[in-house]
Structure formats: structure tokens, C-alpha cells
């Protein structure tokens, strides 16, 4: 009897193990699949370090995650796509720069048919979604978001008796910079990119605020329009109150200028806030830093929205599993986790409005992001296939203009080059 019982017990156990295993394979349709994923070496990588194992345990998918810097990433994607794209399943790309080119080349899989209601795609910021879409089709899920904003140093503004709330227009900002330099000798007004190529993505903000844009409503290059020129000239005026040596500096330099308390303001991307309040890299404390949405020109206030997007390789052999990964990486829960661990500034509205998240970021950060969302109008680079070539041309023009050259003359030249690139794009699309 005992023997029989033992046997029965053993059989029951075996069966239950088998049942669990069976249930497991139903739960884990992709168990055993290996995905290869490319990410940019910013904070997304920290997120992977923290959470990738959970995903692998949950799904049985094995992920080879590789992190690279922007340029390296771009190169890697390109070479892999040229070879058929089968050795890559998921990759991150800089939406405002690469979406159009990648889509025209057929390197990205449209994601619309994968998206289910529970993913709540409507929760993502519209600007981020626009940036990752071409002709109404979505090619990447935004991971993180950033706006151009104004940073300021509360202590310095107080010393100079400036009320940050009074800064509504670029003229106000100009005036405030002047006051700073008068009242706080030895410091400067604003930390600003002044190196042509680097500043293109910031100059576009005043250009749009004064009514200009890269490309006009007819699809023609328009960087020499009177409105655009007005914006560029405003930026040049601001540069008079920028740090020493501004004409050669880019974002990482202006970060340090602000962090070393050499200026009271800084215009750049809000995603860099962390460096500016980290005591190991900055002399500015978390309590001291303030944020403002970009001021208005004579037409409107405008800022750019930027984000990294997670896309699927057209050549992936495991598209369903790849989507599983993208879905997990950008789910509401993951987005919240990333925000709370400060590895990505949220691209989901619900996360940005989450009180826990708002409490975590420096005071005013999330409010500024929400306000920026309302004035955001487009990406930081022209929405065209050869956007980096256009950027180079525009950057060269800006270098000349900031050095004292006539804005119209040099922007005319840049415009001609840009139009040529647009024509080339149209011609290639027609063939």
C-alpha cells in the first residue's frame, strides 16, 4: 500500500511538473529565441542593466544588448541593414534625425499592426509620435523625450534681482542677460552653443518663434526667409552675453560653463539636467536650479522635441519576439521605472504627470516639460532624408554669421544647398 501510494505520489508529481512545463511554454511563446538589440550608450543602457534579466526570465527570450554612442550606432545600423538586416532585431535611433532616411531605405518595420490597445499608444507625447512617423505610419516607439528649455541659477537671479517668471520673450531674456552682466561682474548672461554645426538644433527655436522654419509649407527650403533670419539674428544677439569662447563651444562645454556658475542662464536640452545638479560634476545644487520653457518671439513661443525611438529591423527573423521586447521596454510600468530610476526622461504623459515622478525631479522640471509640450513644434533638424548634410551647410553659415558675417548672404548659400538636397530626395523618391 505504501509503495502504491508512493508511486501514485511520484506520478502525480511528475504530471504536475509536466503541466507546469506545458503552461510555461504556452506563457512563453518565444522561449529560446535570441534577440539582438542595439541601444545608445546613454541611460537606456543603465535601464537594461537593471531590468533586462527580468525580461529574459519572464519570456525566456535571450537578449544580446549592445550599447554604442550616437555616431557609432548610426554606422552600425547602416552596415547591418546593408547586409540584409537579419542580424539585428531591435535598434534605437535618433528620431528627429534618422526616421525619414531609415524609412525611405526600408530599414524599419511599421509597428501599427503590432500595437494593441493595452499598450496605450495615445499616452505617448504627440510630438514624439510624430517624429517617429512617416506618412501616418509609426516606425518607432519613443523611449525618453527631451525639449529645449532655459535653465537658470536661482541664486544668481536673486542676486541680480531678476524675476524668472517675468521672462516671456527673447527680448526679456536679452534684457535679463544684460542685467546679470551689470550686477554680477565676472559672470555672463547665458551659456549658449556658439559653434555653428552644434547650434543648428538650438537656433531653430528662435527661428520658429519669429515665424520661420527650415522648410516652408510648399516643401521648399526656407532658411533664408526674413523670419528665419530674424530668429538667427536674435540668437546672435544673445551670444553677446554668452560665456567666453562661445563661438567654438557645443553642448558639453556649455554644460560645464553653467555647472561652474559662470553664467546665470543656459539654453539647451532638458535631458541634460542630471549632470548640472550632480555634486560630482557641478557646483550648482539641486535647490538652486530652475527651469523655464523657451521664451516667445514675435510670432509664438516654440521649442523642439527630441527623442530616441525603439524600432524593429525590417530584416528581423523574430519580429513577434522583437515586438515583445519593444512593448516591454516602453510599457507604462517600464517607463515609470525608468523615470523613477532617472534613466530616461518620460515619453509617456501619464508618467510625466505621475506625482511620484514629479516629486523626484528637481522642482519645476516636470512642469516645464509639460509646458514645453504645449509649445513644441517639430524636430530640431529639417525633416528630410539628407538632414545631416543640410545641417553641415547650415552650420557653416551660422559660423560665418556669428563671426559677424551678413546673415542674408550666408543663409542664401545654405538655402541653395538645402534645396539641392531636397530636389535630390524628390528625384530619388520618383525613381
Amino acid at each position: 500500500m505504501k509503495k502504491l501510494l508512493a508511486t501514485l505520489l511520484a506520478v502525480a508529481m511528475l504530471l504536475s511538473v509536466a503541466a507546469v512545463a506545458g503552461a510555461e511554454s504556452a506563457d512563453k511563446p518565444f522561449a529560446g529565441v535570441t534577440l539582438s538589440v542595439l541601444g545608445n550608450s546613454s541611460n537606456a543602457s543603465t535601464f537594461m542593466q537593471n531590468h533586462l534579466a527580468e525580461f529574459e526570465a519572464e519570456t525566456g527570450i535571450h537578449v544580446n544588448y549592445e550599447q554604442l554612442t550616437n555616431d557609432q550606432l548610426n554606422t552600425k545600423i547602416l552596415v547591418s541593414m546593408a547586409a540584409g538586416g537579419a542580424d539585428l532585431d531591435v535598434y534605437m535611433f535618433m528620431a528627429y534625425q534618422n526616421t525619414k532616411m531609415y524609412v525611405q531605405n526600408g530599414w524599419l518595420e511599421p509597428l501599427d499592426e503590432y500595437i494593441t490597445d493595452d499598450f496605450e499608444i495615445g499616452d505617448f507625447m504627440e510630438g514624439c509620435i510624430d517624429m517617429s512617423s512617416v506618412d501616418g505610419k509609426l516606425y518607432g516607439i519613443p523611449h525618453g523625450s527631451e525639449y529645449s528649455i532655459v535653465f537658470y541659477n536661482k541664486t544668481m537671479l536673486k542676486e541680480a534681482e531678476i524675476d524668472p517668471e517675468s521672462i516671456k520673450t527673447y527680448e526679456d531674456l536679452l534684457e535679463a542677460c544684460k542685467t546679470i552682466e551689470e550686477k554680477l561682474p565676472g559672470t555672463h548672461g547665458v551659456a549658449l552653443r556658439g559653434q555653428g554645426n552644434g547650434s543648428v538644433t538650438i537656433v531653430i527655436n528662435p527661428a520658429r518663434a519669429y515665424g520661420g522654419d527650415y522648410i516652408d509649407a510648399e516643401g521648399k527650403a526656407a532658411v533664408n526667409s526674413p523670419e528665419f533670419i530674424k530668429g538667427v539674428e536674435m540668437y546672435r544677439d544673445l551670444l553677446q552675453y554668452a560665456q567666453e569662447g562661445a563661438s567654438t563651444m557645443s553642448w558639453s562645454d556649455t554644460c560645464n560653463v553653467f555647472a561652474q556658475r559662470q553664467t546665470a542662464f543656459r539654453i539647451d536640452s532638458d535631458s541634460q539636467y542630471h549632470y548640472l545638479i550632480d555634486p560630482t560634476s557641478s557646483m550648482v545644487s539641486e535647490e538652486e536650479i530652475g527651469f523655464l520653457p523657451l521664451p516667445a518671439g514675435d510670432v509664438c513661443a516654440s521649442t523642439t522635441i527630441g527623442n530616441w525611438s525603439v524600432g524593429m529591423s525590417y530584416g528581423s527573423k523574430n519580429k513577434e519576439a522583437a515586438w515583445e521586447f519593444i512593448r516591454w521596454m516602453n510599457s507604462k510600468e517600464a517607463c515609470l521605472k525608468a523615470a523613477l530610476e532617472e534613466t530616461a526622461t518620460p515619453a509617456r504623459k501619464s508618467v510625466l504627470e505621475n506625482p511620484e515622478v514629479q516629486a523626484l525631479y528637481p522642482a519645476g522640471y516636470t512642469d516645464t516639460a509639460i509646458d514645453s509640450g504645449k509649445i513644441a513644434s517639430g524636430g530640431a533638424l529639417p525633416n528630410m532624408v539628407y538632414s545631416s548634410e543640410a545641417r553641415t551647410a547650415l552650420g557653416e553659415a551660422l559660423d560665418e554669421i556669428f563671426a559677424g558675417g551678413d546673415a542674408k548672404t550666408y543663409l542664401d548659400q545654405a538655402n541653395a544647398i538645402m534645396q539641392e538636397l531636397l530636389d535630390q530626395e524628390a528625384e530619388e523618391a520618383a525613381n
Partner: protein, 292 residues
């Protein structure tokens, strides 16, 4: 069998290398050559298109192409001139026995062997307008700091300084090797005849050393025309196109602007240029050896 091996030794010994070159070098080169007659953005949906010489015609009409050649040649020639001068001077200085000479030579070796990409980042920091030592010194003297690598007027010069720092020791060490081969008795004989130090240098040392210098210069020239890592790590050809040498132009055409046909055409012409330099080098070398 043994006879067969013995007769074909020279092919047996070189066969693996021949196979390697065919597979890993000849085929890729042929591919690049072929690509230079096509237009292709690596698109998955549009195949490459044969365009004949269009890429070449476009290239020769592109001012950036000529600018890149100018930059490449300026960079290489200026660097080479300074490296030879500095290298030679230091070699003449060190060509004596003194305590610690081994250690000193090792120190001179370090710039040559240290990873160029990593060292370039150190230089980038030295040049940085916000945290670089040069900016600190300038600020201390009441001057405005300059981003040496971020300014289109100074970027190429700043890269040259890096190159000169890195490779002057190379010419120096080669010259030092050459100097040790110069027979001391002829120098002694000259000084007995009343020749001054300067005369001994220009009449005996330099002529005897010139083949060595020439070869050292040519080896250096070929490598410096191809400089890439340092530029990638610092300016990536910028600001604008002010440090966009041929190598960087080709890379940017391909991997930034996605114009692979044009990039291949650039590479083909660049390679032909390098071949030309090498041919000249070999002719000069043969002459130099005969003169010796």
C-alpha cells in the same frame, strides 16, 4: 614527392598569404571599385543602380572633394616637415652616451605606441575651452579661451600639433638608428682637419643620414595621409568641413550621408593617390640606396 616540395617551396611558403589576400583584400577592393559606378544608399527596397561615371564626375565637380585633398595634403606635408625637423634635432641632441639614455628612449617611444584614439581624447581635453589646461593658462593671463578643436580656423592646426607630438619621436628614433651607423672615424678625421661642428653636420652627418631620413619620411607620409582615429575621436571632420580629410570625407559620405557610390569613388581615387605616393617613394628609395 620531396623533390616536388623542394621545387615549389617558394609557392608553398607564400600560398597561405596569397589566399588570404585574394579573399580578404582583392575581393573587397573589387567590390568597392564596382560600387563606385553605382548609386546606392544601402536601401533595402531600392537596389543599387548603375550610373557609369556619374559618381566620379560629381566628385570632381564637388568643391568639398578638392578641399579634402587640400586639407589632407596640408596636414600631411606640414606635419611631416615639423616631425622631420624636430625629430632630427632631438636625434642629434641624444646621439651621445649619457646616464639614463635607455629610459629616455622609452619615454620617447610612448607617444608612438599609445592608442591613438585614446590619446586623442586626452588631447581633446587639453584643448577643451572649459576645462582644458590651455584654457586655464589663457584665462590666467586674461585672455579669452579658445576651443582649439571647435574653431574652423584652428582645428586643423590643433590636430597637426597632436600628430607632431605623436610622431616626431618616430622620426627621431629612426634617425638615431641611422646616426649610430655612421662611422666615427670619418667624423674624427674631419675634426682633425679643422672642420667646425656645423661643417661636420652638414658635410658628413646629414648626407650620410639622408637615405635614412628619406625612408622614414616616406613611411610616415603614407600613414599620415590615412590619419583617421585621431580625427574621429576629436573633430570628426568638423567644425563644418574644416578638418574633413579625404579619409573622413569618404567615411562621412558613406556612413553619415548614406551615399555609398560616391564614397566608393572617393576611396578609389584616394587609393590611387596613395599608390602614386608609394611608387614615388620606391623610386626615391632605390636612388637613395644607390647613393649610399
Amino acid at each position: 614527392m620531396i623533390n616536388w616540395i623542394d621545387r615549389n617551396t617558394k609557392w608553398l611558403l607564400t600560398l597561405p598569404v596569397i589566399l588570404f589576400i585574394l579573399l580578404m583584400v582583392a575581393y573587397p577592393l573589387f567590390y568597392t571599385f564596382q560600387l563606385s559606378f553605382h548609386s546606392w544608399s544601402m536601401s533595402a527596397v531600392k537596389p543599387m543602380k548603375f550610373v557609369g561615371f556619374a559618381n566620379y564626375i560629381k566628385m570632381f565637380n564637388n568643391p568639398k572633394f578638392w578641399q579634402a585633398w587640400k586639407l589632407t595634403l596640408t596636414y600631411s606635408v606640414v606635419c611631416l616637415a615639423f616631425e622631420t625637423l624636430i625629430g632630427l634635432c632631438i636625434a642629434l641632441l641624444l646621439n651621445r652616451s649619457f646616464r639614463g639614455s635607455g629610459l629616455v628612449r622609452t619615454m620617447f617611444l610612448l607617444p608612438i605606441v599609445a592608442t591613438p584614439g585614446a590619446i586623442a581624447i586626452v588631447w581633446k581635453m587639453i584643448y577643451d575651452p572649459a576645462l582644458g589646461i590651455i584654457a586655464f593658462i589663457m584665462k590666467a593671463w586674461g585672455m579669452n579661451p579658445v576651443a582649439w578643436l571647435g574653431n574652423s580656423q584652428t582645428a586643423l592646426g590643433a590636430l597637426m600639433v597632436m600628430d607632431i607630438w605623436e610622431h616626431s619621436p618616430q622620426i627621431m628614433l629612426i634617425c638615431l638608428g641611422g646616426l649610430s651607423g655612421i662611422p666615427t672615424d670619418s667624423l674624427e678625421a674631419a675634426s682633425i682637419d679643422g672642420a667646425s661642428n656645423w661643417q661636420r653636420l652638414t658635410k658628413i652627418t646629414l648626407p650620410l643620414l639622408s637615405p635614412t631620413i628619406l625612408v622614414a619620411m616616406m613611411l610616415r607620409l603614407i600613414d599620415s595621409l590615412k590619419t583617421y582615429d585621431q580625427i574621429y575621436a576629436t573633430t570628426q571632420g568638423g567644425p563644418g568641413t574644416s578638418t574633413q580629410t579625404i579619409n573622413v570625407l569618404a567615411y562621412r559620405q558613406a556612413f553619415e550621408n548614406f551615399k555609398f557610390g560616391e564614397a566608393s569613388a572617393t576611396i578609389v581615387v584616394f587609393f590611387l593617390g596613395l599608390v602614386l605616393v608609394t611608387v614615388v617613394f620606391n623610386i626615391l628609395r632605390r636612388k637613395a640606396v644607390v647613393d649610399y
